[in-house]
Symmetry: C2
Subunit: 397 residues, 2 copies
């Protein structure tokens, strides 16, 4: 079985590494030997194991009938989208780690794959090495999924952990993450929650059997979290986590990405550093969690290779997934109920009256914080407008 | 697609419940309607949803060509072993939650299934609802698994948690667990580790691609854990967990079930109460953990139903699993390296000299505790024999 790898970056190189180092056991397990015949990249890689198989021309791959599986680890939409479409149309399976492309064009690409009796697989698009996509597609189909709540971005979780554990400011924690290679030079997509937004859209689409457009997921990042927020969290024995959540409520399904305060009874509280985790609640299964490395060369490559192995065993059979174009019915976000932790610089009696609360916390001089009762986002916004001096609020997770 | 359920106990009833309550979504997802045609039990169930489908005669099921899937939730070896063999030989798939049977005869039953182009599936045999079997069979095949370490028994984890959180004695915690239905009236198989022993044997056999005989897994339960041990654990910010472990070491693979002291950097530290979790380390994946309800009617039934759905989609195709009769090469247990926490009633200077340590802890009047350096089980046994007054020891997890 010959495969081609598009993009020899962190993940692409990891895929070649995994297939090389585990060749013996993989061949034994699936009964087929998998060989990397091409690596497509703009660069050459002299002196590496791929120096003799590098090509700069996608046509070499698309026109080679021996290549039955294409691994797309280029990232971004251009030219990944076009290359993927052309590979699928040439009856080649495509396995990808490219969450942007899956979130943007996954439905269409799965349809093209099905028309050609091949697969478009994307285990590595959510949660790095965590085998959550396959779990949703095969292990949890007997359940009605009621909730997914994930720590789906390692960069932001690393920053939150550094601020909590080491008392670092947001800027210090970000700088350290960049130095260690856990944050990109332009980390906005991570910090502002857009990476997690794409991932929760993909997971929700599979879990609920209807398509959730990532652009319709209200998203807030951690870029506004400051050390003062961490101080309150610590005083309450809680942590702040960037949670990507979707939930089936009585009034409909909602999805949201936002920083949330979680207590130590929540298993996600214990997911620290660059680790990722996906909490899933099923109507029979109950609470479950999948935990692992959310990024990194080998863990992400491991997930890509799981897809490659499935395709190698079924090169001309579309394995059933629940991805569909039919849109997921979302309830209006302003009707979603939450409790909110609010920090104010003043107006305590006003706040107590408006929100009908009695308890406030005084963790930082010159300000106070309090938890609202459960209420809709709409009601919260309305009430918050009546209180002077609100500095910020964080939802409960 | 017609199925039969053997044994209408907790799990069997759960299977009927899940297939009933989620019928719509299941039919949509797999494109086939699944109907329970028979329930085999010694009892009748008048006034329940199964009253009209109860049979007391296995021949009704075995002789009905319409039944393509048999769910075996009887537990124990007799008559489950015979019924399973006969069902498989009649070209019927069998899905089970029966860990005793899988651990004892799984290899043979998988072979019979393969000969008849059907499946013997056992997702529910390890970790209740946690989809760990399917993960090992499909999601992690690209990895060389280096370690599995699981909290695989809810009864013992509940007792450990009660002793830790509420300061209960072992007897009090056990009584409470029995009152709440988390421990059986005759809980020896759980308390002495035999339940976890079977489960780690099953998981290890799949992970390493060679058969691990459960009888060859050295096993110690929690029945000797006392409140004093918990006091030491607390003083060290650790917890005691019954861990079922197998690990690929340089010298070979070893497996063991024993209570272990784990610190809060270990994700298993945070798995409390009746919850189960399986930690897996892969050579590419790195660290991962699967967490969920280890028992209970609906969660366990959910796992059985995942198997039923797979069989319903592939009723006459044996899905590849790595179960094999070829035995796993185990290293001698006395060569396994550990560090040991030792409690002594006296002989402190002797202990320091024999184990070459300087630090001891004095948590309980009239005794002391200490950690040994890392050493083989054999060396530990030899040294321990030279120290008077050793009360007990617990390994590090």
């Amino acid at each position: 079985m010959k495969i081609a790898v598009l993009g020899y970056g962190t993940v692409g190189a990891g895929v070649v590494d995994v297939l090389t180092m585990n060749k013996g056991s993989i061949t034994k397990r699936i009964g087929t030997e998998i060989d990397v015949k091409y690596v497509l990249d703009l660069r050459d890689f002299p002196g590496t194991i791929v120096e003799n198989i590098v090509t700069h021309d996608i046509e070499d791959i698309l026109n080679d009938p021996e290549v039955e599986i294409v691994v797309e680890t280029m990232g971004g939409l251009k030219p990944a989208y076009e290359f993927t479409k052309r590979a699928l149309s040439a009856d080649k399976n495509v396995c990808t780690s490219n969450k942007e492309l899956v979130a943007e064009h996954g439905v269409e690409l799965c349809q093209i794959a099905a028309e050609h009796n091949v697969n478009y697989m994307f285990e590595a698009s959510c949660g790095g090495g965590i085998p959550i996509i396959r779990a949703l597609n095969t292990s949890l189909r007997q359940d009605e999924i009621l909730e997914i709540s994930g720590i789906l971005n390692g960069t932001t979780n690393y920053i939150m952990t550094s601020m909590y554990d080491n008392g670092e400011t947001f800027k210090e924690a970000l700088k350290e993450a960049q130095e260690k290679g856990y944050a990109e030079l332009h980390p906005e997509a991570d910090l502002e929650g857009h990476d997690a937004q794409r991932k929760i859209a993909i997971l929700s689409s599979l879990a609920y059997g209807h398509h959730l457009d990532y652009k319709k997921v209200p998203t807030e990042g951690i870029d506004q979290i400051r050390i003062q927020d961490i101080q309150y969290a610590k005083a309450m024995n809680m942590k702040i986590k960037l949670l990507a959540t979707s939930q089936v409520a009585e009034e409909g399904t909602w999805a949201m990405v936002s920083p949330r305060l979680v207590d130590d009874q929540n298993i996600l509280y214990h997911v620290d550093g660059v680790m990722n985790a996906v909490f899933v609640k099923g109507n029979a299964l109950g609470d479950a969690m999948f935990y692992g490395s959310g990024a990194g060369s080998l863990p992400t490559a491991s997930a890509v290779c799981a897809d490659v192995l499935d395709c190698a065993q079924h090169p001309h059979e579309t394995l059933k997934t629940d991805i569909t174009a039919e849109p997921l019915a979302q309830m209006p976000t302003d009707q979603v109920k939450n409790t909110f932790f609010v920090r104010c610089s003043g107006g305590e009696s006003q706040a107590k009256q408006v929100f009908g609360i009695t308890d406030t916390m005084h963790v930082i001089d010159g300000e106070f914080g309090f938890w609202t009762p459960e209420m809709t986002e709409k009601d919260f916004t309305k009430k918050a407008a009546q209180v002077d001096g609100i500095i910020k609020f964080i939802r409960r997770g």
